[in-house]
Amino acid sequence: MNGVHDMGGMHGLGPVQYERNEPVFHADWEGRAFAINLAAAAWRKWSLDALRYQIELIPAAEYLRMSYYEKWLTAVTERLVQSGLVTRAEVDSGKAAAGSSKATPPLTAAEVPGMLRSGALASRDVPAMAHFHTGQRVRARNIHPVGHTRLPRYARGKLGTVERDHGVYVFPDTIAHGAGENPQHVYSVRFTAQELWGGQASPRDSVFLDLWDDYLEPA
């Protein structure tokens, strides 16, 4: 979706605010919100891209106002409700509905190291045709999906060069909506800064994006 989250190239969002000796979490609740996200994801009711999409759905003004972990909290709450793990009434009251079933077992402390060590592979060891090859000139498609996508607006319609084939990965545009993994090749595509931003940009600079087969067409 053409949301405010897709902010590459925007002006007017202010200077970068740097904090020296920044703590990992700025308040206890941030750590809890972070950890709840990971522990809730362990139920495998939604994909990472579904969570990202949920964050993208936060209304623009709210998105810009909220801190990072506030967005995570908002999104995970919405995913929990939509996946049926909790009801909205339970979220509002903070109490389990009378007679509601208890889901067990949750992720335990003992399982945390193993879960983090194995991570979640987004690559897939399945055959998929590579439609492009290293060195090939390509154009990022000029598409504007209303759902989740990882093709930023600033690259759409632009010409680039395939620098590397990363292999086969699940496709965010479908997996975010429960429409299948649709595994396909992901390429590192190099766009010159002048192709993206015009003659004002440095002729030496470039931006590399990792783009799926479905985002590209032959130039």
Binding site: H5, M7, G8, G9, M10, H11, L13, G14, V16, Y18, V24, H26, R32, A35, I36, A39, A40, R52, I58, E62, L64, S67, Y68, E70, L73, T77, E78, Q82, V86, R88, V91, D92, G94, K95, A96, A103, P105, P106, L107, T108, A109, V112, L116, R117, A120, A122, R150, Y154, Y169, V186, S188, L196, A201, R204, D205, S206, V207, L209, D210, L211
Partner: protein, 213 residues
């Protein structure tokens, strides 16, 4: 806490305007615990992991090893995920790693314009500025201006490569080894390497005089 009227669950994009997030988290954790969906001890373990164990010291060890061991560096540039795993790092948000090398001619900078993707396994959780709208919006269109704000002025001749983490590949910058660090051992070198240098918003500073006595 304000909430949308019940029975309007289809209005998903009309999300709840929050009250105090601290209170909301507390209520959510209590609910999820009561329902058997999370174990508070697992939350403690997750927080402890990222507050005390996984952080930029991991990445600094990778960088220092690459500086002192050319065959390690070769493996790192070819297959970063495996080379980083040799030092015991990997997993969550480090499943698919690529390392990009800074040289006198090329400067690399990492961003995620669409959200805040970051190589947790080697750098820990990202700082607020990395997740902020100013950095995400400007790193791709004005990398030199952003770097200037970080105190890094690049020569016009230097080529800047910005890596926008749009997929599940995570990027780590291999900074240049600073002049004056020739006599340092791997552990001393690792102590010089900062998080910012591994994102690409800084260079690794030369060691302070006398540090390598």
């Amino acid at each position: 806490m304000s909430a949308p009227p019940h029975g309007h669950d289809r209005d998903h994009d009309h999300q709840v305007v929050p009250s105090d997030p601290a209170l909301r988290v507390k209520a959510l954790e209590s609910l999820l615990t009561e329902k058997g969906l999370v174990d508070p001890k697992a939350l403690d373990a997750l927080i402890n992991k990222y507050e005390h164990q996984v952080g930029p010291r991991n990445g600094a060890r990778v960088v220092a090893r690459a500086w002192v061991d050319s065959s390690y560096k070769r493996r790192l540039m070819q297959d970063a995920t495996s080379a980083i795993a040799e030092l015991g790092y990997g997993g969550a948000q480090g499943e698919h790693m690529v390392v990009v090398e800074n040289t006198p001619e090329v400067h690399n900078l990492v961003v995620c314009t669409l959200c805040s993707c970051y190589p947790w396994s080697v750098l820990g959780l990202p700082p607020v500025w990395y997740k902020s709208a100013p950095y995400r919006s400007r790193a791709v269109i004005d990398p030199r201006g952003v770097l200037r704000e970080f105190g890094l002025e690049l020569a016009d001749e230097t080529e800047v490569r910005v890596w926008d983490s749009t997929a599940e590949i995570r990027y780590l910058v291999l900074p240049e080894r600073p002049a004056g660090s020739e006599s340092l051992d791997e552990t001393e070198l690792a102590a010089l390497v900062t998080r910012d240098a591994m994102i690409g918003v800084a260079k690794v500073a030369a060691p302070a005089m006398g540090a390598s006595a």
